[in-house]
C-alpha cells in the first residue's frame, strides 16, 4: 500500500489540532472585570474532532483521490462549440437576442417582488463599478485599491449639488461623472509613474484620504452625519413619491391616474440602472475598439514594447484611470439617489476590495465575467442570509477557493489569437488555418 501516506496525514492532523486548540477549543469569557478561559461547547469540540478525522483520511488517501479526480476530469465530454457559434453568427439572430434580453430585463421586475427588484438594482450598481474598475485593472493592468474614492466623489457630488444648488438627478449624473473623472485625472497625474504594488498602496491611500476628508469636513459634508433626504430621480419632472416634494411637480401616479404604489419607484430605479449599465457597456465596447482601448491592453501586456512603439504610457494610463473614475462617479450618483442617504462609512476600503474581487472573480478584462461576478457577489450573500452568522466566513472562503481552483475567473477574457500548432500536428494535417476567436 504505497499510495497511503501516513506521515503527511498525521502531520496535517497535528497542524489542524494546533490551529484549532486555542481558538475553537476554548472560549474567552469576561468574568466581572477580569477574564477567564472556559472549554468551548461540546459541539465545537466534536466539530474539531470531525475535522481532524476528515483531514487525516483525506491526506491518507490523497493519491487515490487525486487519481480519481483526474479520471473524472478526462471523462467529462467537451461541449462542441462550433454549432453554437454558427447559430450565433446567423444574421438577425443578434438583433433578436438584444431585443429579447432588453425586453426581458425591462418586463421582469413587474412580475417579482420589490425586494428582488431592489436587490437587482444594487447588483447593477456593482456591475457598473465592476465594469469601470475593469478598465483600470483588467484592461490597463493598473492595480487600484482606492477605487471607492471616486465612487464617493460621485455620490457626494450629487448630494451636495442637490443640497446647495438644488440641481436634480439628471444634471448631477453628468456632473458627478465629470467631477469623479477630474479627481481621477488630478490624483492620477502624479502617481501613475509608480509601478505595481506602489501604485496599489498609493491609490489605497487616496481612497482613505478622500473618505477621511469627507468625514472631517463637517461644515460642508455633514461629516459622519452624512447627507440625508437626497431626492430620487424623476421621470421628465414626474416624481415617484406619494406626494410631490417640489412645488408644481406632479407625482407619477396622479399624472397617469393610477393608484399609488411604491413599487413603481423601485422599478423605475431598476430600469434606470439597466439603462446606465447598457450605456456603460456601449461606451466601453466602443472605447475598446478604438486605438486607445488597444493601447490599454498593449500597455498591460508589455510596458517597454509599448514605449518602443511610440506610445506615451503616462497618457494611456491616465486615460484609463480617468475613464474608470468617471464610471465610478456615475455609479456613485446613482447610489446616492437609490439610497437617499449617504455617509462616509459607505465608502470604506472593504468596498474597494469587493469591487476588485468582482473584477478578478469575473476574469480580468472580461466584461461578461464581471457582470456575472457582480451579480453573484451581491445576490449570493442574500441567499446566505439564513446562515447570516457564517455569511462573511463563506464569502472569504469562496474568494480563496475560486482563486485556487479557477484563477482565470468565471469567464476568462477572450481575445483574437492564433495558435501555432506544434510540429507534430502540422505534419499530420498539412496546414490548417487557425480559427480567430472573437474578442469580448
Amino acid at each position: 500500500m504505497k499510495s497511503l501516506r501516513f506521515t503527511p496525514a498525521i502531520l496535517s492532523t497535528v497542524v489542524l489540532l494546533v490551529l484549532t486548540s486555542l481558538m475553537l477549543g476554548i472560549r474567552l469569557e469576561p468574568s466581572g472585570v477580569g477574564l477567564k478561559v472556559t472549554m468551548a461547547e461540546t459541539s465545537s469540540l466534536y466539530w474539531i474532532a470531525a475535522g481532524a478525522v476528515v483531514v487525516f483520511f483525506f491526506q491518507l488517501f490523497r493519491a487515490p483521490i487525486d487519481r480519481g479526480m483526474s479520471g473524472i476530469k478526462q471523462q467529462l465530454p467537451s461541449v462542441p462549440k462550433e454549432p453554437l457559434r454558427q447559430i450565433a453568427d446567423k444574421k438577425g439572430f443578434k438583433t433578436t437576442l438584444i431585443c429579447f434580453a432588453v425586453a426581458g430585463l425591462m418586463i421582469w421586475p413587474f412580475f417579482v417582488s420589490r425586494g428582488a427588484v431592489d436587490l437587482a438594482t444594487l447588483a447593477l450598481i456593482y456591475v457598473m463599478l465592476g465594469l469601470g474598475l475593469n478598465i483600470v485593472v483588467g484592461l490597463a493592468g493598473l492595480l487600484d485599491l482606492g477605487y471607492v474614492g471616486f465612487y464617493a466623489v460621485g455620490a457626494y457630488s450629487y448630494a451636495l449639488l442637490n443640497q446647495y444648488l438644488g440641481l436634480d438627478f439628471w444634471s448631477s449624473l453628468v456632473l458627478g461623472g465629470v467631477l469623479a473623472a477630474f479627481f481621477g485625472f488630478v490624483l492620477g497625474f502624479p502617481v501613475l509613474r509608480l509601478r505595481g504594488d506602489y501604485l496599489a498602496i498609493v491609490t489605497l491611500g487616496f481612497g482613505e484620504i478622500i473618505r477621511i476628508l469627507l468625514n472631517n469636513w463637517t461644515s460642508i459634508t455633514g461629516g459622519p452625519n452624512g447627507i440625508s433626504q437626497i431626492p430620487k430621480p424623476s421621470l421628465f419632472g414626474l416624481e415617484f413619491g406619494r406626494r410631490a416634494k417640489e412645488e408644481g411637480n406632479v407625482p407619477f401616479h396622479e399624472f397617469f391616474g393610477i393608484d399609488y404604489s411604491s413599487t413603481y419607484k423601485v422599478i423605475f430605479l431598476y430600469i434606470l440602472a439597466v439603462l446606465l449599465v447598457i450605456a456603460t457597456l456601449f461606451v466601453i465596447n466602443r472605447l475598446l475598439r478604438m486605438p486607445i482601448g488597444r493601447a490599454w491592453e498593449a500597455l498591460r501586456e508589455d510596458d517597454i514594447a509599448c514605449r518602443s512603439l511610440g506610445l506615451n504610457p503616462t497618457a494611456i494610463k491616465l486615460s484609463a484611470f480617468t475613464i474608470g473614475a468617471a464610471f465610478a462617479g456615475f455609479a456613485g450618483t446613482f447610489f446616492a439617489a437609490r439610497q437617499g442617504f449617504i455617509s462616509p462609512e459607505s465608502f470604506t476600503f472593504i468596498e474597494s476590495a469587493i469591487i476588485l474581487a468582482i473584477v478578478v472573480l469575473g476574469g480580468m478584462g472580461s466584461q461578461v465575467g464581471v457582470i456575472l461576478a457582480a451579480v453573484i457577489m451581491t445576490v449570493l450573500p442574500e441567499f446566505a442570509r439564513e446562515f447570516q452568522e457564517y455569511r462573511m466566513l463563506m464569502f472569504g472562503l469562496m474568494m480563496v477557493c475560486m482563486m485556487v481552483w479557477r484563477p482565470e475567473g468565471l469567464m476568462p477574457m477572450k481575445r483574437p489569437h492564433i495558435k501555432i500548432k506544434s510540429k507534430k500536428s502540422e505534419t499530420e494535417s498539412s496546414v490548417k488555418i487557425p480559427s480567430v476567436a472573437e474578442s469580448v
Binding site: G396, L397, M399, V400
Partner: protein, 308 residues
C-alpha cells in the same frame, strides 16, 4: 529645560512605541514580498490571532494561580509564537502555494479572501465583542520639571522597545549569518535560480511565512498586553498601517520596514500632538504619497530594474 521640549520628547517616545510595533508587523509583509513578490493581506489577521492566543494563555495561567509575571510573559510568547506560526504556515500552504506561478492580482485576491475568512473565523469562535484584560505591568518612569508637563515612559513601553530590538537583532543575525538566512536571501534575489542550485525553495518560502507570523505573534502579545483590548477586527487596521510602513521604507527591504514603521509612528504621534488626531491618518497617507513621488520605490527600496 522648557516644557515644550519635554512635550516633544513625550510625543517622540509615543511615536516610537507605536512605530516599533508597526515595524514588527511590517517585517512579515516585507519578507514575503521580497521573496515571492506578493502582498500577504492576511498578515494583519495573523497578528490578531497572536493576540488572542496570548490572552488565552495569560487568562489560563492566571486561573491556575500562577502570578509570576515573567513566567506568564514567557509562556505567552512561546505558545503564541508556536500556534501563530502554524497559522502562517497553514495559510501559505492552503491559499498561496497553489497560486505560486499565477498573476500577482490572483494571489492578492486570495489573500484578501483569507483575511476575511480568518477575521470571521475568530469572530465565530470567540464572539465579536471586545475582550479586555487588566494590565499586568503598570507604572513607569517620569522625567521633567516638578511642576508643569513631564514626560512619562511606562514599563510596558520599555518592554516593547526592548523586545522589538531583540527580535530585530535576532532576525538580522539569522538572515545575514545562518545558512537558512543565506538561502532566504538567495530566494529573494532569484527564486528560480535558487531552486536550480538545489535549495528547497518551497521550504524557504514556508520558513519566511513562519518567521513573519512569529514576529506578528510577538507584536500581538506585546500590543495585546499594552492596550489590554482585543477584538477580531484589530488586525485589519494594524495590517493596513504596517503595510503602509513596509511600502514607505521600500517593500522587500527589512531595514526599510523598520525605518518605515518608526517614521509612520512618529509622524502620527506628532500630527496628533501638534495638530489634531482627526488628521493623523490623512497626514500618514499623504507622507506616503509624497515619499513615493520622490523615491518611487520607498526610502530604502532598490530601484527596479526593467527587465525585458
Amino acid at each position: 529645560m522648557p516644557e515644550s521640549f519635554f512635550y516633544f520628547i513625550q510625543q517622540l517616545l509615543n511615536g516610537l512605541t507605536v512605530g516599533s510595533t508597526y515595524a514588527l508587523i511590517a517585517i512579515g509583509y516585507t519578507m514575503v514580498y521580497g521573496i515571492i513578490g506578493m502582498i500577504n493581506f492576511a498578515h494583519g489577521e495573523i497578528y490578531m490571532i497572536g493576540s488572542y492566543i496570548a490572552f488565552a494563555v495569560l487568562a489560563a495561567l492566571a486561573m491556575m494561580g500562577i502570578d509570576s509575571v515573567s513566567l506568564m510573559l514567557i509562556s505567552a510568547f512561546v505558545i503564541s509564537i508556536i500556534i501563530t506560526s502554524t497559522y502562517g504556515f497553514a495559510v501559505e500552504r492552503v491559499a498561496y502555494r497553489p497560486l505560486r506561478n499565477s498573476n500577482r492580482l490572483i494571489a492578492l485576491i486570495s489573500a484578501i479572501g483569507m483575511s476575511i475568512f480568518l477575521q470571521n473565523y475568530v469572530r465565530l469562535a470567540q464572539g465579536s465583542r471586545d475582550i479586555a484584560m487588566p494590565s499586568m505591568i503598570s507604572g513607569g518612569w517620569t522625567f521633567g520639571p516638578e511642576d508643569g508637563f513631564h514626560a512619562t515612559v511606562s514599563y510596558m513601553q520599555l518592554i516593547i522597545f526592548v523586545v522589538t530590538f531583540i527580535s530585530m537583532t535576532a532576525l538580522t543575525l539569522f538572515i545575514s549569518r545562518s545558512k537558512m538566512g543565506r538561502a532566504c536571501r538567495a530566494c529573494a534575489e532569484d527564486l528560480g535560480m535558487t531552486g536550480l542550485l538545489g535549495i528547497n525553495t518551497n521550504q524557504i518560502i514556508s520558513i519566511t511565512f513562519v518567521i513573519g507570523a512569529a514576529l506578528a505573534a510577538v507584536a500581538g502579545v506585546l500590543l495585546g498586553m499594552y492596550y489590554g483590548v482585543i477584538n477580531p477586527y484589530i488586525g485589519f487596521m494594524a495590517g493596513l498601517k504596517a503595510f503602509t510602513a513596509a511600502v514607505l521604507g521600500g517593500i522587500g527591504s527589512i531595514p526599510g520596514a523598520v525605518l518605515g514603521g518608526l517614521i509612520l509612528g512618529v509622524t502620527e504621534a506628532f500630527t496628533a500632538g501638534y495638530f489634531s488626531s482627526e488628521y493623523k491618518d490623512v497626514v500618514a497617507f499623504s507622507l506616503l504619497v509624497l515619499i513615493l513621488l520622490f523615491r518611487p520605490t520607498g526610502i530604502l527600496g532598490k530601484p527596479e530594474v526593467e527587465k525585458v
